[in-house]
Symmetry: C2
Subunit: 224 residues, 2 copies
Amino acid sequence: MHTMTGNDAAGGGLRERKKRATRAALAEAAVRLAAEHGADQVTVEAISAAAGVSVRTFFNYFDSRDDAFVVVDADASGRVRRAFLAAPPGLPPLEALREALAAELREAERQHELWSLHARVLRSAPHLLVRNLGAQMADESGLAEAIARRIRAGDDQDAAGAPPEDDADRAAPELYPRLLAAVAGTAVRVSVQHWCERPDEVSFAGVFREVFDLLAAGLPAPAR
Amino acid sequence: MHTMTGNDAAGGGLRERKKRATRAALAEAAVRLAAEHGADQVTVEAISAAAGVSVRTFFNYFDSRDDAFVVVDADASGRVRRAFLAAPPGLPPLEALREALAAELREAERQHELWSLHARVLRSAPHLLVRNLGAQMADESGLAEAIARRIRAGDDQDAAGAPPEDDADRAAPELYPRLLAAVAGTAVRVSVQHWCERPDEVSFAGVFREVFDLLAAGLPAPAR
DNA sequence: CACAATTTTGCATGCCGTGCATTTTTGCAT
DNA sequence: ATGCAAAAATGCACGGCATGCAAAATTGTG
């Protein structure tokens, strides 16, 4: 299940490469068809035909029809976690997370066309935006654990005596890591949402920076 | 769509009262059946039978089967908005929202049994938790507008000249109200989530207070 | 090339969700 | 109270979604 093999550019076997090619073809076909005809007018049969596979095969890759529209990049969350943990030790958690997210979002803007289509599909179908949000929430748990680990690592600088239980209380995550992970995800969502409505007025990086500045300041009443 | 009529305890006509009774019966039957047999084992037919209506009638009240598990109190968001707008004018937005949410959550703990069942159902079925999150997001837009209005009202104290457009730019909400609304919703979710895992260690009010204290402080790294 | 493992595919099945016409209930005016 | 119009509930039919199962096709390996 975990696809332990390094699954970035080229995973060893021809089998896995073809699997990912089929999956990507299905996802891209789904997004393009949805952008053209509207999301709810696209049947599984049409997606499968566009990708060159049978209807049954579609359900071998996605648990539901909507999943094809939602999943864009499965290992983006892993990259964010790694970048967050690799940030300079002195940085506060919120700042480290801001940098990690900003780097990932800059990277995401490379596939600008598909991203834009995807955003349009999600905006025109609130139902799918919710599912996308759900995928974001699935990452939240892993990110919260990374935050907790980074805080422990920071504390270990001061108190060298490492606690005997390394990951014993993993089943009961603390409050702060969860809150920070959840709020950061929300911040990304609001930034994208706000920026999508004004593609020309402001840059995405500017919106993103302003959002995190507001968070770091404790969400004060805006001055006019 | 807006159910303009004051829809609190007893809405005028017998019609609307019976409608809400049927809707509540369906929702409660759905939650109880899901808590007993598991959410995905409950068919629409079973829910309808338990509520004493036909299958077709079920779909007259809910757009999908899952919606029956998600919606608990349709006008909770309206109460929060009103309480938020009625808060003392001097209070900063974050504090006013904290108080409004705390009051609503205290009120929600009255139907403790159904709430607890509902929480268990949502935790056992991530799929439904996502839909619940979606319902929360639907309220987000209205709450953001209320926040924007409160801020405008606060500014009108300083500059008495009221702007000619009262709700002209409703279509283009500003960044801060949206962010605050979204983060507050996230804060509630994380509070409930965290508290549900430790029902005995801490009180819900305590978790809730700690979360908003962290937000108001700008999510600083926790001191040990 | 032969063989085992994996993937794809077709078929059957059941539930979900919607449109339409019909029947029943409700509110209101007489 | 009684008839009437609006609204809700119901039954029926239809198509898409989603899964299990077994057969056929494809890939990796000796």
